[in-house]
Subunit: 204 residues, 3 copies
Amino acid sequence: MFGLIPKNLDFFEFFDRAANNILKGARVLGELVEDGDIEEKAKLITEIEHDGDRITHDTVRMLNQTFVTPIDREDIHGLITALDDVIDFIDAFVIRVHLYKIKEFPAAARELAHILLKSAEETVRAISCLEKMDSTIHHICIELNSLENEADRISRAAIAKLFEEEKDPLTVIKWKELYETLELASDKFEDVANILEGIILKHA
Amino acid sequence: MFGLIPKNLDFFEFFDRAANNILKGARVLGELVEDGDIEEKAKLITEIEHDGDRITHDTVRMLNQTFVTPIDREDIHGLITALDDVIDFIDAFVIRVHLYKIKEFPAAARELAHILLKSAEETVRAISCLEKMDSTIHHICIELNSLENEADRISRAAIAKLFEEEKDPLTVIKWKELYETLELASDKFEDVANILEGIILKHA
Amino acid sequence: MFGLIPKNLDFFEFFDRAANNILKGARVLGELVEDGDIEEKAKLITEIEHDGDRITHDTVRMLNQTFVTPIDREDIHGLITALDDVIDFIDAFVIRVHLYKIKEFPAAARELAHILLKSAEETVRAISCLEKMDSTIHHICIELNSLENEADRISRAAIAKLFEEEKDPLTVIKWKELYETLELASDKFEDVANILEGIILKHA
């Protein structure tokens, strides 16, 4: 359960791993909603989610064993948790796709998956600027916020349409939850952005 | 993005602004559920929610730049976040009213809005006692707790009635969520009360 | 509101009380889903939930008044909150049982209640090892994690079956929420396990 932490890993490398793990997950999610082959892609995302758990676990473990940290302890904990939440919600979406035997994805689901992919790319970029406390992060955070607003807009419009056009209540229940789960993943990217901004500000 | 913080503002003034912003929102909510004119009131609440975001952002920013704080850092953060959550849930209610094209409000929704208004008034009062660490806060917190219990009771009774009397499942889904969202706003007032009690206790 | 804290109580005794209170609640839950007599058992669980609130309140109060704590302040707060969340979700389940006028429980609900009971027993055992920082806790935490995975599996299978076999959408809405609430109680046991692991690790 408690494997050895590779000696040469620091917190910034953990964040980098977590962000790249999300990017990997967001790419597979994009393939799942575009090309189908749901069964295989879903299995892959569950593995990626497990990898995320391990990265989070190792980071928290290192935090508990480190006396002096390069950035505030609460920010390290907050950041790795928010990164973990993103991949958790992507996995939660895929679990529900399986549960509800979804075979096809409407345009809104594909658009939301695309926004998550873009958010993942921006997050990898932001994290890579963190160690140098590069102020570019501010601009990336603004972009992450605007991607979250876009996800919000798409998800709300899709749910409104569902209530207006869909006759089967069970389909409404399923898709309402599916859209909301993708939207929550997007919210978590915004949390990541807010924590990054806070860190940069303290070190300004 | 990071405007100048007015120099003469301290944390207590930020809390006061946040509480009065909620009161403003709760008043507009009361008008929305009573008099209709939903479109215009909803727009107003969204603006008030944005103002709340700005107050929270500025408070967190000042917290990050302040070395010695008048009350514990985690309490400042917890309090401003809980205040922000109240107005977020009021806004979430209004967003769903729009999404689900709600045109009329049952008695239970009006009663819940009324409880939120009373809670907002009590919160403004409690916050105004905070700087002097006035023990009146205890009594206000008891009142906030009892308002939350009342909201709980109303919301549960309304949902039970919905499942018994409403034939259309989509209407059940919509109103269940609407009642729960108002109830969550009320929960957040209780969080505010708990944090205030903790602060008073530490300074007793 | 602020009764005297018994002088001879320390934090470990508070944790012990909270864990045993959960165990009491989980036993009554087991009886409720097995033998019926819902009305009386539900009343009992609400009382147990109130007891939990009082234990949490007293713990937080003592934390606020204690300068040097035997384990990190944030861990004390996190642990007592997670323990409180468990009994809150058990109570939330019972509230919904009452609200939705549930009279009979399918096998999956009984299995989930049984897992919660086993998790409560393990939690009492883990807490009793805490003061001595006994490394047995690791093994108990692994067991709590595997119980949570089992609860996850059962709850998901039950929800999938619901969507496939149940014709009445309102019954789907009710039971989906009931299963999810039991699953959330199980999640909170996992949170307890994670916090315990963190504490043990810091003191290793």
